[in-house]
């Protein structure tokens, strides 16, 4: 709309004495009527009253106003009121602006001159702005009447239950394998000394059974987009290697060696079971335990272990199970084929030192792998088996099983399996050698390394 057609009406409210006692409304009115595009400017005792509203309507009809500015209280009080006035007369309600000369002006000073000056400025700004306003049309957008609650502690649980009881669907996302949060770790609650579990567990069960709640445990929110009423949320489910549909919570898997729940034995919630991937040593005990107890209703889906066939199980139960894990295969090998296996695997090594570089345990300033006394520089593959043996022994006591070494090895050598194997061995089997401490043994090994035929350049063993 070009500015020449714009006709603005300005209405200054006295608000009883709330405004008029400080702001000289007549001066302001006179000022407003001089502003560009202003056709009419008036003041009145209460603009929000019926007569006040009528005054605006009349002017719109008779003077053909197409913009209205009301200088009065905060828009939080009466914006809707005045927009209604415009709408009643057929004007778009967004051709309206409000200058707050009460909370922002008359109430905060007793200096009449300053207040009057400020009121003028606020009105001048509102007039300047209203000229540029465009008509807006409200429309309806469908919303999803669903809620997402992030975090399954007691607060999240209660929020989810309240919303769900009100009839809305709730997604409850919890990053740990189980909901419950801190409260599940407490014994009594302050100040009544009520039993914490007695409050929490019924609510946890309600969440599990509530038809309006979808529980996403062991999951994390990775991305939120969209807008109010139509959010799009991406949730990553972490693998737990347990099929919650078939798992019956017997907890036998947890009794096997290295699952996270070892200590929590006997206090399991169905929802809590997961195999800790980083600690899995591929021993397969969890799957075996689950199979024995639950037969074909196996709940453990540990992929590292699934491929195995259980040497210990009677043959008829082995059927249908795929071949062993690498770990199983190696354990079952006789010593000659085991040596051949490792020779073959380790001869793939291109000596990138990646396994050492990423290992959280390998932190030495000077690494023995670069000591020419042990390992001939510049040779690929590096001396068998010293190169890998050195590292394996150095980290054996501390390896946290993170698997980074194996993940980063460009030749995909099963480096973590070496560690898993060492963990299975009692100390006698690994020559009682204590990494970093055993000096005589180190000398013996150096001597052996020097005499070893594999040390000659280019000759493969």
């Amino acid at each position: 709309m070009s500015q020449t057609e714009v006709k603005v009406g300005v209405y200054i409210c006295q608000c009883g004495i709330n405004i008029a006692a400080t702001v000289d409304v007549e001066v302001v009115r006179a000022f407003a009527s001089t502003l560009d595009n202003v056709v009419v400017a008036r003041h009145y005792q209460f603009m929000c009253s019926e007569p006040g509203q009528e005054m605006i309507k009349k002017d719109i009809r008779e003077l053909g106003l197409n913009r209205v500015v009301v200088a009065s209280c905060s828009p939080r009080m009466h914006e809707v009121t005045f927009q209604g006035v415009l709408a009643d007369t057929g004007l778009n309600p967004y051709y309206f602006d409000m200058a707050n000369i009460r909370e922002h002006c008359s109430w905060i000073t007793s200096d009449s001159a300053k207040a009057t000056e400020k009121a003028k400025r606020l009105i001048r700004a509102a007039v300047a702005r209203v000229v540029w306003q465009e008509p807006l049309v409200a429309r309806e957008v469908p919303v999803k009447p669903e809620a997402l609650v992030v975090g399954g502690g007691i607060a999240g649980i209660q929020a989810a239950l309240t919303i769900a009881d009100a009839g809305f669907h709730v997604y409850l996302v919890e990053r740990e394998p189980s909901i419950g949060g801190r409260m599940a770790q407490l014994d009594k609650t302050f100040p009544t000394l009520d039993c914490s579990a007695c409050i929490l567990t019924p609510k946890m069960v309600s969440v599990g059974r509530h038809p309006n709640i979808s529980l996403l445990s062991y999951s994390e929110v990775v991305d939120v987009s969209g807008y109010v009423g139509n959010f799009k949320v991406k949730v990553r489910k972490k693998p737990r290697y347990v099929d919650l549909g078939t798992c019956n919570g017997c907890g036998l898997c947890a009794e096997s060696d290295l699952t996270e729940l070892k200590e929590a034995k006997g206090e399991l919630w169905v929802d809590r079971i997961k195999i800790d991937e980083s600690k899995c040593s591929q021993c397969g005990d969890c799957v075996q335990a689950c199979l024995e107890e639950n037969k074909e209703n196996q709940g453990v889906t540990n992929i590292a272990v699934e491929r195995r066939q259980f040497a210990e199980l009677p043959p008829e139960e082995r059927e249908g199970n795929l071949p062993e894990t690498l770990m199983q295969q190696i354990v079952l090998m006789d010593s000659k084929s085991r040596l051949e296996f490792w020779q073959r695997e380790l001869s793939k090594c291109i000596k990138c030192y990646g396994c050492r570089d990423v290992c959280p345990i390998c932190i030495c300033d000077e690494c023995e792998l670069e000591n020419p006394e042990w390992i001939s520089p510049g040779e690929i593959p590096p001396n068998f088996p010293l190169f890998h043996l050195i590292r394996a022994y150095h980290v054996a006591d501390y390896c946290i099983g993170c698997g980074e070494c194996e993940a980063t090895c460009p030749m995909s050598i099963p480096l973590r399996t070496i560690q898993s194997l060492i963990h299975r061995q009692p100390r006698e089997v690994i020559f009682e050698y204590i990494p970093g401490l055993d000096v005589p043994m180190k000398e013996k090994l150096i001597k052996q390394a020097k005499e070893s035929p594999v040390n000659k350049r280019g000759v493969r063993v």
């Binding site: 001869s347 291109i350 990138c352 690929i380 460009p410």
Partner: protein, 682 residues
């Protein structure tokens, strides 16, 4: 504290692994592998893991240098650019545009290669521009273009994992393209059969189902014999041959001459092994050929490549997943340097300078007239410099004084020049001979793109500000062009250069920084902004229409061993170093692995000559001699010796010959005749 990780690309080999540079308070603090990268999957080789370590090396060039009275003096950029524009103009006016020659770099970004070729063609008006691809894969470009119509790797790297058979010829993939080598081993673990053909027992050979230790330079004979067996045993794909290829009859007659017995005599490979290998390849459902420098650096380089193409077509192993003919490009951006037209006979995207339409397109875009006379190749440039036809050279990030054959000749040629500009990050052997040296930035200090060996375009990202006074190559070229009066080089970022490339280069038409930054894997041909790139080529039809069989005669290498020079020398690279070592030899963890050159010799020969392990010997060829220590190993067969070419102080390329493949103009770096004597004896 300010910490950031920048995803960027490895500056070494053509695998194109991506990794993160860790930047702490504006300095590179470390390097982390990127687990989501399709190629590296969080794995890197030793060079990649240490790639950041040469960036801050004390010998980095940081100011422009001008040689006065035989000594380098520091100079301002203005002074350096002035003298360069003056000298280049002078040369152009006095001796014509073709008295100037440019060497572009396979280490620089696509944008920079594009700019240098634009500078050479549009500003100076010469097509004398080439890059080191001439010394590695020019036969690939020539050979595969004539057979298939496109001179690039046909399939992508990850596809190798699913092949049923992989035939590796003349490629030491585990050491030179580790992340491809690892895929080959992966394939083998998945049940694929592996055939390795190499005169040297490379690490990969130890995993081969069949290893053929071939006499250097007899590849055509061996491959013809291979195909002879396939046709006799009916293992060819008749339908594929009749529907998608031409020239089969003539080819068939030719290979009939190559019976297994004849091949055994010529190549030293037993006919039994050859038969076994041929059957494995012929019977495989998806067979892939992988080759590298061992095949191309010969006078018969182009013939060798065409033979591979013949083999793939004969068995219908092209245009499908996990098959194809796959040259492994050495430098991280040698593919890109060629794609960008840093070649004497083509513009960007392999549009021939002889093609009127292409010429007009570039003339219109650059508002100038271009010459249609194809330029000189690397070795020809050096010869022309030697003979005085080329007066001035501009070398961006290359080191011909160590990488080219017969380097004493190269030295003489470079000193015969009136004017030589070298743009590099270190004072290389070549830079020492320059009149002006311009300090460029390393990969960590600039933006751009690289194109990996399987045609994947990758984003290089800037991690730190240029060191000292150095500038990215694209800035240097733009400023030089501007100071020579061109108004065609007003770029504010490499992104704008890529936009120009996309406009002028159909195969790069759909490449843009926006798409790459969204993490898209785009391999050319990528024609439009909604084209998702091409993982393998020639699916429905060959780029040239029908695949073409070539009947190829076996020719002996140019220089055969004789009584005076009884050994065959073959050259190559090591795991721990890269080419002329300007970068890798400055990384302590790499240099401590191998710090000096050596010559591999078989135990039998060593015994005969009375040479002990690590003893210094003198190696002579018709061109020169070097001293080097012997390393006795069974990796090489009797009669053959191997020297890596990284080391200036015992440079293999003093010995090598510059006899060229007539078509691709590649010198025969892989075969020459030498003799060996103990030190102090003639």
């Amino acid at each position: 504290m300010n910490y950031d990780t920048i995803l960027t690309v490895c500056p070494f080999c053509g695998c194109g692994c991506q990794f993160y540079l860790e930047v702490l308070n504006k300095e590179i603090a470390g390097l982390i592998p990127c687990k989501t990268d399709e190629i590296s999957e969080g794995k890197l080789c030793i060079k990649g893991r240490n790639a950041h370590k040469f960036v801050y090396h004390g010998e980095r060039l940081k100011t422009p240098l001008i040689k006065r009275n035989g000594r380098f003096e520091q100079a301002s950029w203005q002074a350096a650019l002035d003298i360069i524009s003056q000298k280049l103009n002078e040369s152009k006016q006095r001796f014509g545009p073709d008295s100037i020659a440019f060497l572009s770099s396979a280490k620089c970004t696509n944008e920079e290669n594009f700019l240098l070729m634009k500078f050479a063609r549009a500003v100076l008006g010469t097509n004398n521009i080439d890059n080191c691809a001439r010394l590695c894969h020019s036969p690939t470009v020539a050979g595969l273009s004539s057979s298939f119509g496109s001179g690039a790797m046909t399939n992508s790297i990850p596809e190798l994992e699913n092949a049923d058979c992989i035939l590796v010829i003349g490629s030491n993939a585990i050491e030179q393209h580790p992340l491809i080598g690892s895929r080959i081993l992966e394939a083998r673990d998945n049940g694929a059969k592996l055939i390795v053909v190499d005169p040297r027992r490379t690490p990969l050979a130890n995993f081969a189902d069949v290893y053929l230790q071939i006499r250097p330079g007899s590849d055509v004979c061996l491959l013809n014999g291979f195909m002879n067996i396939l046709t006799t045993e009916g293992l060819m794909d008749k339908e594929f041959i009749s529907q998608r290829t031409e020239g089969y009859e003539g080819f068939k007659q030719k290979i009939e001459e190559y019976t297994p017995d004849k091949v055994q005599k010529v190549s030293g490979v037993s006919s039994g092994d050859l038969q076994r290998a041929a059957r494995i390849y012929g019977e495989a459902e998806k067979a892939s050929i992988v080759y590298c420098m061992g095949l191309t650096q010969h006078t018969a380089g182009t013939d060798n490549v065409r033979s591979c193409a013949n083999l793939a077509m004969l068995t219908g192993n092209v245009g499908r997943e996990s098959t194809g003919v796959n040259p492994l490009r050495g430098q991280n951006n040698v593919q890109g340097a060629c794609d960008m037209g840093a070649l004497p006979n083509v513009y960007a995207g392999y549009q021939a300078v002889l093609d009127k339409v292409a010429k007009e397109r570039f003339e219109a875009a650059w508002e100038t007239s271009l010459t249609e006379k194809p330029g000189l190749t690397v070795v020809e440039m050096i010869d022309a410099a030697y003979e005085g036809f080329v007066k001035a050279m501009y070398i961006m990030g290359e080191n011909p004084a160590l990488s080219d054959p017969d380097i004493s000749h190269v030295h003489e040629a470079l000193s015969a020049l009136d004017f030589l500009v070298v743009q590099d990050i270190f004072m290389s052997e070549t830079a020492q001979q320059a009149s002006v040296v311009l300090p460029a930035t390393s990969f960590a200090e600039k933006e751009g793109t690289f194109t990996a060996t399987d045609r994947r375009v990758l984003r290089l990202r800037k991690a730190i500000e240029p060191l000292g006074d150095s500038k990215p190559d694209w800035v240097i070229i733009s400023q030089l062009a501007q100071s020579m009066g061109s108004n065609q080089f007003n770029y504010t970022s490499p992104k704008e250069i890529m936009e120009e490339i996309a406009k002028l280069t159909p195969i790069y038409g759909g490449i843009s920084y926006e798409r790459l930054d969204k993490g898209k894997v785009l391999a050319w041909p990528c024609l439009t902004k909604d084209h998702s790139g091409t993982r393998f080529l020639h699916e429905e039809a060959f780029t040239r229409g029908k695949g073409r069989f070539f009947a190829i005669d076996f020719k002996e290498p140019a220089e055969m061993p004789d009584t005076e020079f009884p050994f065959t020398l073959t050259t190559g690279r090591l795991m721990f170093h890269y080419h002329t070592g300007t970068m890798t030899r400055k990384i302590p963890s790499l240099n401590s692995e191998v710090s000096a050159g050596f010559m591999e010799i078989s135990p039998q020969d060593a015994k005969r000559l009375g040479v002990g392990d690590r003893e210094k010997v003198v190696v002579r060829s018709r061109r020169g001699e070097i001293q080097i220590s012997a390393s006795i190993t069974e990796k090489v067969a009797p009669g053959v010796v191997f020297i890596p070419f990284h080391f200036a102080e015992s440079a293999a390329n003093v010995l090598t010959s510059r006899t060229l493949d007539l078509e691709a103009k590649i010198p025969e770096l892989k075969v020459c005749a030498v003799n060996i004597s103990k030190r102090g004896k003639p």
